[in-house]
Symmetry: C2
């Protein structure tokens, strides 16, 4: 990678709340911004807020037909209308039409996506990979300027995997994943935290647009390597819970031999991997059906080149 | 009230898990007991475990058609089959047939009901009223013998209100309401706590059945006096969140003038009542649709007469 990169200023920026219809911080923030759009304006740009999945929001469920945030792949975006297709496929095409098309020159410059998790992940910043220069600089700026809590960086893209998330339709994106918060609940502390993180991110864009030079840096981030399912009975029902010693320990080291599950009868199940990992999304409500008890993460240091506008 | 009462020994005892299909401690406990029934046996009796709302459990939602735990009133229990009636009305009649009929001599002697809340209510014991002698003795026994955490007593019946809960079909009942736990999540710590509380309650029944004399006592309990809705916009949408100073403060005193809500723009809304109350079910996920931000409780001391078996 070059020691420094130049990118165009960001003029078209959007933020989605309610990509999942029961994650309330972003839903109430987006609704608040739709009533009070001034809060999303800066000198050089303004952010367009929108509700990701309005039908799911109305029912206060994660999704109606299928997970919207797994629907932004070529397969779904290029599909033709069909009568029995899930609502989210229709909605993904709409969003791609409005803020994309994905991969095109017309696509929005940047999209924020606001989420909550039941896991104890704090103020987590999710980026597709460390190669996304502008988002990595944004994370660095947030970590430096938002000092009320740590903001771990989660790199979600597995090698060779196609991007599938809502903000992959824009040229770049950042997902805020705040927790722990139960589904269908809005906590004032997390609402305020999400709003402050957004304000900090917009300050970064404003500085970038106005020509600030951001030097190269080294940064720690967690990169996904795989996922761990729950132990299950032969009928598919889970047979064990996340171990109390692992519960709430997102982004802390898990070593070979450490307990990870406890069966309903009380037996411990130990981690059999060969290396230390850093679990995240531990005991996330929505991931039972995805067969994910936690995401397996490695901790790395990355060298990020400098950045300034063209 | 008499200074001491004699009641028949308890032979028919049941426990429902999954009366709400997304409250996971009771669901996984009931399923565990259905696989391992010995855990619910004592010398003088055995408990029958069952799944309260199987269809809701399968979908991992609170209910399919209407809240099952508000369906055990004369209106629903005496209704005749209709094609368009909600599933839970059918299910309530089934449960009433099996474990009741409500108010009859054939009804089960006792029913436990296992719940979770997203509110910070700890190991809460819910009884209809302080006049329910055997459940109050059971609560007293649990408070004395289960010492890992406080077990506040919540008296749920408003004056003049008909009982509507699932365990009202039995002659007496106790509801365990453990939190905080997100919907659709099972935490090992709360699972173990619920199992231990049940074991303690069964020990009490065994002692009672075997002739132990339980003397009169004084006990503190929280009695509901009403419910507080969220502030709302004219379109019905909520316009404020539970205030961060009230969040997680279940069963702690709330005084006139204390903040209770924070609008999405950041203004405080203060409590305008005349007396100190003790809120509970603060920010419970399932109560947004019931228009309840918290239950208003009074704290009282009650004198409970002695108890022994006939």
């Amino acid at each position: 990678m070059a020691a420094s990169c130049r990118l165009k200023p960001l003029s078209c920026v959007a933020v989605s709340g309610g990509t999942h219809g029961n994650e309330m911080s972003g839903i109430f923030l987006a609704k608040h911004w739709l009533r009070n759009p001034m809060e999303l304006r800066r000198g050089s740009f303004a952010v367009t807020p929108f509700l990701g999945n309005p039908r799911a929001i109305e029912k206060c469920v994660r999704y109606v037909g299928r997970d919207l945030n797994r629907t932004f792949t070529t397969e779904f975006l290029s599909s033709t209308e069909a009568e029995d297709e899930p609502y989210e496929v229709v909605r993904a095409r709409e969003i791609n039409q409005t803020y994309g098309p994905k991969g095109s020159a017309q696509a929005f410059d940047f999209m924020f996506d606001l989420h909550n998790t039941t896991a104890n992940m704090g103020a987590c910043l999710i980026v597709d990979s460390e190669e996304s220069l502008l988002p990595m600089h944004m994370c660095h700026y947030i970590q430096t300027h938002y000092t009320r809590s740590p903001c771990p960086i989660y790199l979600y893209k597995l090698p060779g995997e196609e991007t599938y998330s809502i903000n992959s339709v824009a040229k770049a994106g950042l997902t805020l994943e705040l927790g722990p918060q139960p589904q269908q609940v809005v906590r004032a502390d997390l609402f305020t935290q999400m709003r402050d993180l957004m304000a900090c991110a917009l300050d970064f864009i404003e500085l970038f647009n106005k020509g600030t030079v951001f030097p190269a840096f080294e940064i720690e981030a967690y990169k996904i390597t795989g996922r761990m399912d729950y132990p299950r009975y032969s009928d598919g029902e889970i047979s064990a819970m996340v171990h109390p010693k692992l519960q709430d320990k997102d982004f802390l080291p898990l070593n070979p031999g450490d307990p990870i599950f406890q069966t309903f009868s009380g037996e411990e199940i130990l981690y059999e991997g060969n290396t230390t990992i850093y679990p995240a999304f531990i005991n996330e409500a929505a991931y039972y059906e995805k067969k994910v008890a936690f995401a397996k993460m490695e901790k790395h240091m990355f060298s990020i080149p400098g950045l300034q506008r063209e």
